[in-house]
């Protein structure tokens, strides 16, 4: 009986914890959204920090990311093409390549890439700012941390994931064409027709929304996890661990919901 009560209590505490975390995140997001709509937010200083964030998150890693996208795309395209040939489904190869790579795998891998590189850095930095009282110091100087530190990171994350996923998608489309038709203009018409058939308005809007949600997940969750850190230095690794686990689950959840909406 005691064991049952303890289990229910522990489960209840966990559920309450999850709700508290979710509430914290949505409250933070609402605050950021309100600030985003406020005209006074959009001064030169905020704009400069957003540019800096996009540079650190997307531009600085562009060469590594492009190499990574090229290798992944080449591997997946080769697997799809050889499998399609084996089963006599060559005419579906281009559509399958676009659906698997451009719509699903590349945005997902882009989000993971940004989460591992920038999400973990954001989580650590915000946790250290929290532990070292840097946020209190900014508040004392009446420099708004949301406007100066957090909002540019959210915007930068969304812009970076959307553009990098778009770029990786374009590379995959080009590689797909070259792998299927080679260096010849003969396949241009059927290939572009397949692209046009797949990318209707709904799919495009869904893809952009999914990438934007990925971008939000890889920045919002690390920021809120960092802000939750108790003011003890040894809690910083725990905060990063929790934050990155939440980011991973959020990315998977977004992908699963997107797949379910598309195919079920």
């Amino acid at each position: 009986m005691n064991f049952l009560a303890a289990s229910i209590e522990s489960l209840g505490a966990k559920v309450v914890g999850w709700f508290t975390v979710a509430y914290g995140m949505f409250a933070f997001l609402a605050k950021a959204g309100m600030l985003l709509l406020d005209r006074t937010t959009w001064n030169r200083a905020t704009f400069d920090v957003v540019i800096k964030q996009v540079y650190f998150t997307a531009v600085q890693i562009l060469h590594v990311f492009l190499a990574y996208a090229l290798v992944i795309s080449w591997l997946i395209i080769t697997i799809i093409l050889s499998t399609a040939r084996d089963f006599g489904l060559t005419e579906f190869a281009s559509e399958m390549t676009i659906r698997v790579l451009v719509l699903e795998l590349l945005p997902f891998l882009t989000a993971l890439f940004i989460a591992l590189r920038s999400g973990s850095a954001i989580n650590t930095e915000v946790a250290l700012m929290q532990v070292n009282n840097e946020l209190d110091a900014l508040a004392h100087c009446k420099v708004p941390p949301m406007q100066f530190e957090f909002l540019p990171r959210l915007i930068g994350g969304v812009i970076s994931v959307v553009t990098l996923a778009g770029l990786a998608g374009l590379i995959a489309l080009l590689q797909g064409y070259l792998s299927i038709y080679g260096i010849s203009a003969a396949g241009f018409e059927p290939y572009t027709r397949t692209i046009a058939k797949i990318f209707d308005f709904q799919i495009m809007a869904g893809l952009i929304a999914k990438c934007a949600l990925f971008g939000l997940a890889v920045t919002l969750i690390p920021v809120t996890a960092g802000l939750e850190t108790p003011k003890k230095l040894f809690m910083v690794p725990v905060s990063v661990l929790r934050g990155m686990m939440r980011v991973f689950f959020a990315i998977v959840a977004i992908e699963v919901v997107s797949l379910a909406l598309k195919y079920i």
Partner: protein, 132 residues
Amino acid sequence: MTALPGDVARVALDLPLRANLSALDNIALIPLYQRHFSAAESARQAQAMLDQLGHADIALLRDPDMTPSQRFVTKLARAIILKRPRLVIDRPGAMLYDVPYPEFIRQLAAQDAMAGTWEIFDFSWNQALYQA
């Protein structure tokens, strides 16, 4: 410390600099975000403040690269540029452990452009250091 009135600019150990910003950027944040000056003008004002305090050379240093006295000067510059009616230096011994600090603060306060009164809150047992 949260009970302190809003007209006080504090220089204290528990109000650190932003670690990933240079001394200049830490000071320039104030005119940039509070008075909405351009980035260039804010940086100019911040540099002028460091010049007035006689530490122009620390402008590009980040917090981990500064000595305790350089860090103190940056915090002091940040507090002065806030332009609040009162400037409080809270337990300077905790921040200035590499120099004889009453003399160091006296020298900073004696710079030509410094105005107003700086209030120093320190432990009573350190009183003798100020009378030396």
